[in-house]
């Protein structure tokens, strides 16, 4: 399910200001992309075009950079972003089973967002909470030392 791109005057001028102050610094593209993603939540083609014109870098190159790095997203994220840690410490303690359970509960594949824009699911690299393995996060909340059976209860807290 794709959600159309919505721009506002405020967001637009914020991005233009960042482009302006970064223009003269060498190698500032990745910094601008980070900032743009903070503003819009993701990097749709419309935003990439604005950056391309502002920094005078070909759109193809920008698209190349956006798709190279895992942090940048072409798709919008859900209101609640769920990330399951698949770092080694979590993996050996069964975080793959947590991920399977989340997929089943939300009817989602990794990288996608539910139709109502509420939940998105991703698998991430080690977040460093290895002492709590296995771990997943919902926005800034960390859930650790849990098993697949705990998943429905945790999700219920966010559902209404």
């Amino acid at each position: 399910m794709s959600i159309g791109f919505v721009d506002t005057e405020e967001k637009h001028s914020k991005l233009l200001a960042i482009i302006e102050e970064s223009k003269s610094k060498p190698g500032s593209l990745i910094h601008v992309l980070h900032e743009a993603q903070d503003i819009y939540g993701y990097l749709p083609i419309e935003v990439q075009k604005m950056i391309s014109e502002g920094l005078d870098i070909p759109l193809a190159e920008i698209y190349g950079v956006v798709t190279f790095y895992a942090q940048f997203s072409l798709k919008p994220k859900g209101e609640y972003r769920i990330s399951v840690c698949l770092g080694t410490a979590c993996y050996v303690k069964g975080s793959d089973k947590l991920l399977d359970k989340l997929k089943e509960e939300l009817h989602l594949e990794v990288g996608d967002c539910t139709a109502d824009g509420k939940f998105s699911l991703e698998a991430c690299r080690c977040i460093g909470a290895c002492g709590l393995a296995p771990v997943f996060t919902i926005n800034d909340d960390v859930y650790g030392r849990i098993g697949p059976d705990d998943v429905p209860g945790i999700l219920a807290k966010y559902k209404d």
Binding site: I30, V65, F68, Y69, T88, A89, V92, R125, G131
Partner: protein, 641 residues
């Protein structure tokens, strides 16, 4: 900052403010209070590990209850960096007693405040290392804590948990920026490089290249502009040493980079840090701002003509950017693809100018080497691996967390003495070091000393410091597949050996773990591994086959078991697993059939002797191997084999 005298004055003042924590060095306070009037400090770990286990709530609770007790002018709460014992987090240390409380819950705060901070009685049951409370008397031994801390030697982490990382004065109180002052006012660049060379310090990021030699190469390159870079793009799964240094002691990196800049003749530094480390990024930003304000970064440092500035660059989630040339292309704003070497970065690096790149932990050793001398540093570790190494110990081990040990310590000491052994009475099977570039150390080699060269000899590597412990429930073929899946995903795609080769190796492992393997597949793995090692462009590709080669070296029998016997000895690979119902134990209640999501369990017609109902049986063709039936059975009648 005009002179060392000015820095000394700041140190004197700062020592007074931390008097309750640092009784030895500080002078002039006779009433037992800090200069700003506090009699106790409560240090709460605000590293990522403890934040995840709830230290932010604790801080709020301490603030509330200390205020309620009316002692907010006597007791100060300080956020600090990682103590290392993440499994026991959140951790709180109360000074002047240095009482370390672990697994502190919000409901424990009231007791600490009333008993310890108001009545002066240490809460024994919460002390780290105290397992049982028989009487309430707290001995010196109780305060020393467990073996986890006793066997460690903290050099790179010496300030972590000891200072407030967001306050430059606390860093200065512990001799911060004195090494930089000494270097620029009393040493020539060559003398700085000589000291680092003599210390024998080797890169802590993985490959172990001598740091002094790297600096000497960059110094000898002639150019109008040179750069100093810091690799804080810690990407090995399960490794978080660098993050802890950045979160707990960010100034040490800035100071060391400035020293490196002085040594090679650079005035600009870049720290390339993972965007996934928001706390570290925030602390670095604060540190840079404060360092500029105090004049320990900027123009004409310590009244000399040496100037140095540091800029932060955020990564964007690409493992390959930990490779030095890829990191530089990424700072330049491009896709993080590696470049062929030579030319080496010391000749043509960032923006095609001579550049040195060291990792966070390497830098964390530099100020102390300059201040205390190479001779002090060489007293630690072994002849070819000097100093200490930090490991992030995780997996199937009791004390997960951060550990700093002298080089040459054996794996056994790390796993059993510091790590507290394997939980649930399981047997140690292997330890994995070096992440996706490293290999396994099997139980038979557990007495190997941890040094750069011995680890390479046994087919693993030091790596950046991830150390994952595995027990008998871990399938080595599955682990090799896990690491290869990581490399396949993180391969940048520039060179075919890595892009195509690792994928083909992964496919073969997938074939083996799903029960379709043949003996010739093992030969193909060797051949592919050899080709990739010899022809990939960068370190990521060249080392990608290591997890497969090292598991083949020590656990070939497991590969054979998968291929020939069609069995997974550890019971991990689903394709080989079967759930069975033991007829004699099954009372025929039918709960398993109701739990089964695939309708794979049906009632037989056979009623065992002494039972009332016919027993259940699993239709193996329909079974999804989810294990729901086994979890649901109260009579232990279902087994996994």
């Amino acid at each position: 900052m005009k002179s060392l005298e000015e820095l000394k004055a700041i140190k004197e003042k700062a020592l007074g403010d931390i008097y309750v924590r640092n009784v030895k060095e500080a002078t002039g306070n006779t009433d037992g209070k800090t200069t700003d009037g506090y009699r106790a400090h409560v240090m709460v770990c605000a590293g990522t590990g403890c934040t995840s286990s709830g230290s932010v709530t604790l801080i709020k609770e301490f603030e509330r209850l200390i205020k309620k007790a009316g002692i907010e002018n006597e007791v100060k709460i300080i956020k600090t960096g990682c103590f290392g014992l993440c499994a026991e987090g959140p951790i709180v240390v109360v000074y002047p007693e240095a009482a370390m409380y672990c697994q502190v819950k919000p409901e424990d705060v009231a007791e600490i405040v009333t008993e310890h901070l108001v009545n002066g009685k240490i809460v024994k049951r919460l002390l780290e290392g105290v397992e049982k409370v028989e009487d309430e008397t707290v001995t010196e031994e109780d305060l020393e804590g467990s073996d986890f801390f006793k066997k460690q030697q903290r050099v790179a982490l010496h300030n972590c948990g000891r200072i407030n990382p967001e306050n430059i004065e606390e860093y200065i109180a512990h001799d911060g920026y004195f090494a930089l002052g000494k270097a620029v006012t009393a040493m020539t660049p060559d003398e700085v490089i000589d000291e680092v060379l003599k210390s024998g310090l080797r890169g802590r990021g993985g490959a172990g290249f001598p740091t002094g030699r790297k600096w000497a190469f960059a110094k000898s390159s002639v150019s109008d502009q040179k750069y100093v870079c810091c690799n804080a793009d810690e990407g090995d799964p399960g490794a978080f040493m660098d993050r802890s240094v950045l979160e707990g002691d960010p100034h040490v990196v800035l100071e060391a980079m400035a020293i490196a800049g002085y040594a090679i003749g650079a005035d600009q530094g870049y720290i390339y840090v993972r965007a996934e480390y928001p706390i570290a990024v925030q602390r670095l930003k604060i540190a840079i701002e404060q360092a500029e304000k105090y004049g320990v970064l900027g123009d004409n440092l310590f009244g000399t003509d040496f100037s140095f500035r540091v800029e932060l660059r955020l990564g964007a989630g690409a493992f390959v950017c930990g490779e030095e040339t890829a990191l530089m292309t990424s700072i330049e704003g491009h896709r993080g693809e590696p470049r062929p070497r030579p030319p080496f970065p010391a000749v043509k690096g960032l923006f095609m100018k001579p550049t040195i790149l060291n990792n966070v932990e390497t830098y964390a050793n530099i100020p102390q080497i300059i201040l205390k001398g190479a001779d002090w540093f060489t007293t630690m570790g072994t002849e070819k691996s000097r100093g200490t190494k930090v490991f992030a110990v995780g997996g199937k081990i009791k004390n997960t967390g951060l550990v700093e040990i002298p080089m040459g310590t054996t794996l056994r000491e790390v796993v059993y003495d510091i790590g507290g052994g394997i939980p649930n009475g399981k047997k140690f099977k292997a330890a994995q070091t070096g992440g996706p570039s490293g290999g396994c150390i099997p139980a038979s080699l557990i007495d190997t000393p941890i040094e750069y060269d011995t680890l390479i000899e046994i087919g693993s590597m030091m790596g950046s410091g991830g150390l994952i412990v595995m027990d008998e429930d871990t399938c080595m073929v599955d682990i090799a597949k896990f690491f290869l899946e990581f490399t396949v995903e993180e391969s940048c795609g520039k060179c075919p050996p890595c892009r195509i080769g690792t994928k083909r190796m992964y496919d073969i492992l997938e074939k083996i773990t799903s029960g379709r393997g043949e003996l010739s597949d093992i030969d193909d793995l060797y051949e592919l591994a050899d080709a990739i090692k010899n022809s990939a462009l960068c370190g990521l590709g060249q080392t990608a086959p290591n997890p497969v080669l090292s598991t083949l070296r020590y656990f070939k029998d497991e590969y054979i078991a998968h291929v020939v016997d069609k069995k997974c000895p550890a019971g991990v690979c689903k394709a080989f697993m079967h759930y069975n119902i033991i007829e004699d134990k099954c009372i025929g209640c039918g709960k398993c059939a109701r739990m089964c999501p695939a309708d794979a369990i049906v009632r037989t017609e056979h009623i065992p002797d002494g039972h009332k109902l016919a027993s259940m049986a699993i239709n193996q063709a329909k079974c999804l191997k989810c294990g729901a039936c086994m979890e649901g059975c109260k009579f232990n009648a279902i087994v996994k084999e």
